[in-house]
């Protein structure tokens, strides 16, 4: 009985915080736009009994999904989001791996401090940090002023409101999610493995490729998913740092909800986004599972 209770807790959690909201969103995506509160029809009215239920289901249809396929904006936004997420993930890996490696090789008494430093940005609001980047990257921003002062450039660089600013923002924001799992996998690696590899005739570099890289693979995969999955749906960074040309599905979703007040289409966009994300999430879970098996 107690075991059943324990198992039920996470399932109830999932039901209340994932499945129920999803069903509501899915239902809205099948509805029609209406000038009302809430801004869609039909609404389920149980006072009318069975007949009401039947007519309620009659009115639901997939026309919003059809609409998504007809307007090129949407699939372009999906593709563009995928591209930005992929490139950002690669960039984050490129920046994060050396940091994680350096942390794992640092003297043991430094490591808690370095970990603290990685986590420290989380102590301030995400929004404030993105605004701070606006201040840095703007035409009259700190970065341009500094570069002009050093004489490296004579004209201010246009970074803010370009895709470059979006990449900078995403890499900055999601870097800890990349560093932490890689650090965890590197840190528990036995350093005598590298000595053994060297002893058996490896150079330092080939020891890295033959030993360190494969042993940190799980960390790299975990970190990449942790960056990739939230980046696809990201909308704060592209709307604050990106320009009018930056097309991301999160931004489209936001506009549908709050500018067009078209909740049904916005919900359809969200449902498709979720379906796209299910694949990497499943892959991520399988990676975690594999790691647990390897550790066991």
């Amino acid at each position: 009985m107690r075991r059943l209770g324990l198992i039920l807790v996470p399932y109830l959690w999932l039901l209340a915080l994932f499945l129920v909201p999803f069903v509501i969103v899915f239902k809205i995506s099948l509805s029609d736009l209406a000038m009302a509160i809430p801004p869609y029809t039909p609404n389920l009215d149980l006072t009318e009994g069975w007949a009401g239920l039947v007519s309620f289901f009659r009115e639901l249809d997939f026309e919003n999904y059809v609409w998504l396929t007809e307007d090129a904006l949407y699939w372009k936004a999906y593709l563009s989001s995928l591209k930005i997420a992929l490139i950002s993930t690669a960039l984050t890996l490129l920046v994060g791996y050396p940091i994680a490696y350096g942390m794992a090789r640092a003297p043991e008494e430094w490591r808690p401090m370095l970990l603290m430093l990685v986590i420290l940005p989380f102590w301030t609001s995400f929004l404030i940090r993105v605004y701070a980047w606006m201040g840095i990257l703007a035409k009259e921003g700190v970065l341009n002023q500094f570069l002009l002062w050093t004489g490296l450039i004579s004209e201010p660089l246009i970074i803010l409101n370009t895709n470059l600013a979006v990449y900078i923002g995403i890499v900055y924001t999601y870097l800890p999610f990349m560093i932490l799992p890689i650090y965890a996998s590197l840190e528990r690696m036995d350093e005598s493995l590298l000595e053994a590899a060297e002893d058996l005739g490896c150079s330092r570099l080939s020891a890295f490729w033959l030993i360190t890289a494969p042993l940190s693979k799980q960390g790299v995969i975990a970190g990449s998913f942790l960056v990739f999955i939230p980046t696809i749906g990201e909308f704060v960074i592209p709307s604050l740092l990106g320009g009018s040309k930056t097309l991301m599905i999160g931004k489209v979703l936001w506009d549908e909800f709050f500018s067009n007040r078209d909740w049904p289409v916005a919900s359809a966009v969200a449902v498709i986004l979720l379906l796209i994300l299910i694949i990497p999430i499943i892959l991520f879970q399988r990676n975690e599972q594999k790691q647990r098996e390897a550790d066991g």
């Binding site: 005598s192 000595e195 590899a197 060297e198 002893d199 058996l200 042993l215």
Partner: protein
């Protein structure tokens, strides 16, 4: 028909494989190895024995190339190895933690070093299979290290370090992670493999029994110096210092002053007790303060005073440690000193001759013990 005894260290013409020449290694203020000179010969099974922190692991790591001496030179076959990086030395090491690559199968672990040498594929396969046979791991080639037992992992580590047929194999506490029974079996396996491959082995251990079992010569180390290098029996029977006598096995130490009488030495050690008679190859000045060291199993215990024995002292049984195959009697002498005497339990315990508080005689011959400088 005596077998040719392997003892190149006694042969002045033998060329050592490894020579430590006045090697010193410092880590900051700490001197790990202090002006150490020692020769290790080909096909030797050389044991570095000492308490933790005595510098034995540092010596090994210098041989492997992970540390460089602060002063002095290390020669391998007459050549200074200081400038040779670890990945180009004809030296392989078996790590204390085994350091098996967890993402590679047993087979690939053993093949790792061979592949780095760009050996042709079929030769690699042949060599790996040979190593698997040598270490009786044929069935486990495809498993990952976490899928085999501790003893098997130890053998994989050995096979991997032997695969490249090194001139010198270093073993860092190779049996430390095994339980006692498996350790004893593995010691004999190690000796067999060492003999059949003819590789020179240098083993680091803090377990004196292990060093005595496997090694052709044992170097007892203390605080960065080698205190004594000798065959296991010489280390045990003729320790050159109190440190060695005390470190290896159990020993009774009696302090006193020594004087020579004829070819024997006499030790005056307590008032009212007759002098202890012994012999020594070393010479001592008259009335020099010395330790007389005697192993418990060389002390006989009897109820009556034995006749015609060089040394006999009476005392009272204070304690008995029953170890199954042997018993150690702690006998208190008149002056309060305690001497340990060991006897083999070749009778059932119910028929034991002595018990607590019994008055007994301890006796030993005049060649049983050694005199050591204090």
């Amino acid at each position: 028909m005596a077998l040719d005894v392997f003892s190149p260290w006694d042969d002045p013409n033998a060329k050592p494989l490894i020579q430590f020449k006045n090697v010193t290694k410092r880590f900051g203020d700490f001197t790990a190895i202090d002006d150490l000179t020692v020769d290790i010969f080909e096909q030797e099974f050389f044991a570095l024995l000492g308490p933790s922190g005595c510098g034995k692991t540092t010596m090994m790591r210098m041989l492997a190339g992970f540390e460089t001496p602060s002063q002095g030179t290390i020669l391998l076959s007459g050549q200074d190895i200081a400038p040779v990086p670890p990945n180009q030395r004809a030296v392989n090491m078996m790590f204390q933690s085994y350091a098996l690559f967890p993402h590679l199968s047993v087979w690939d672990n053993i093949a790792f070093g061979l592949k780095r040498d760009r050996m042709p594929k079929d030769e690699v396969a042949a060599r790996v299979d040979e190593m698997l046979r040598l270490t009786r791991l044929e069935k486990f080639g495809r498993r990952k290290p976490h899928q085999i037992s501790g003893g098997q992992r130890q053998r994989v580590a050995l096979a991997r370090s032997l695969a490249k047929a090194p001139k010198l194999l270093l073993l860092d506490e190779p049996l430390g992670a095994l339980d006692k029974k498996l350790r004893q079996e593995t010691q004999f396996e190690l000796m067999d493999i060492q003999e059949s491959t003819g590789t020179t082995f240098v083993i680091v251990t803090h377990d004196q029994e292990e060093a005595m079992t496997v090694a052709s010569r044992v170097a007892v180390m203390d605080e960065g110096k080698i205190v004594q290098v000798a065959t296991p029996d010489a280390i045990y029977e003729a320790p050159n210092s109190t440190y060695v006598a005390d470190f290896i096995g159990d020993v009774n130490l009696i302090t006193g002053t020594v004087k020579a009488e004829g070819d024997k030495l006499h030790l005056t050690w307590a008032e009212g007790q007759s002098e202890i008679v012994g012999s020594s190859s070393k010479t001592f000045s008259k009335d020099q303060n010395v330790h007389f060291a005697i192993r418990p199993e060389k002390v006989a215990i009897s109820a009556q005073k034995p006749e015609e024995v060089a040394n006999a002292i009476s005392g009272k049984v204070l304690d008995i440690a029953y170890l199954g195959n042997i018993s150690t009697y702690h006998v208190q002498l008149a002056g309060g000193q305690i001497i340990k005497a060991q006897t083999a339990n070749n009778r059932r315990i119910s028929r034991r001759s002595f018990t607590w508080e019994d008055d007994v005689w301890l006796s030993w011959t005049d060649t049983a013990g050694v005199f050591l400088e204090r």
